[in-house]
Amino acid sequence: MQEKQSATATEMAQVETIIGRILQIGVVFSAIVMGIGLVILLATGDSGYAGHTVPLTMVAILVGSWQLKSYAIMMLGMYCLILTPVLRVVVSIYAFYKERDHLYVVITTAVLIILMIALAIGLTGK
């Protein structure tokens, strides 16, 4: 029992290291994108849009980012940040799979599916 527990602990540590690393990459990436947007906004004093308008569709955000509009880049960075927890769940599924913990592959997949349903309900506007 004791041996089994410590084996689980070591595996768990490895799994957590992998997830931590991928999460770190995601967070640093979104921080850099948000930072670039903020620097452009502060340097030019221009949001890239008229008045207080904020780009609200994915297309507008991507096109605006390509044109180096500060608000668009900032929104893109925030969108990446919103996706980091979802990324965490996806990577966890893979990590539990690697460690052959089928129970937790099922549990974590269930979380992802429920999350997707929540996202879909949210997008259609409740």
């Binding site: 768990m12 957590e16 609200l56 608000y71 900032m74 980091t84 409740k126």
Partner: protein, 281 residues
Amino acid sequence: MIQTALIMIGVGIFAGIAGAILGIGGGMIITPILTLGMGLNIKYAIGASIIAVIATSSGSTIAYLRDNVLNLRVAMFLEIATTIGAIVGALLTGVLDPKYLYLLFGCLLVFSGWNMYRKLRRGQEVLQRVEPDKIASKLKLNGSYYDKAEMKNIDYQVENVPAGFSVMFGAGVASGLLGIGSGAFKVMAMDTFMKMPLKPSSSTSNLMMGVTAAASATVYFFNGSILPGIAVPMALGILGGAVIGSRIMQVLPARWIRIVFIPIILYIGIQMLGKGLGVHF
């Protein structure tokens, strides 16, 4: 504009440090500063606090995962309850009178505050039963973490899994229905009901908070509740603050964190009871 950005970065650093240590979203700190301090519309304050929760969660989870403080299995297992709860809560909007939820959760938080106070008096942080809980063993929820304050590895057991799961479901409903950050509820479910030590409870709550918030964040993101000029410098500040906070938390004695946590949990609880009873203060 630069002034606003600097203020928001500063507010963010503070909220990030506090949120990472306590396992609660930054919403409780961010919302009053934005609405009362800066006169921002509540709609934008809610949008900013959703971003704040995710930034706190993602910023602190990096260190908590690397240093093995949090319990990933507990997080994923309980996440089922919070995400289903969040959907149920969103669907119940307009059907269920939020009054009863405020009363129920207000009572739970006050009870939890009292329970934390007793734990503090007893000075016992870790549960060690001769006979481990059956459900917890089956789900492999028992864990261990290295406490940098005590400089030793601490094994702990988890119990009352169904009770913790139910509170988490309720926390999900509350966050979906009332739009309140459920970090305090999550810490309460793990610490008070499942008898986990405070540090794994708070760090696991941090990981879970972001996942629950991500579900509703896209709604706010695309409906224009999020102002980039406010939310971006705040998020950057929070990410930095959360990275610092997740390091401070590990070297702080659990006792100290509990001492800070008790008045906060009592304050939120009493505020909710007030809302449920229709009293404003």
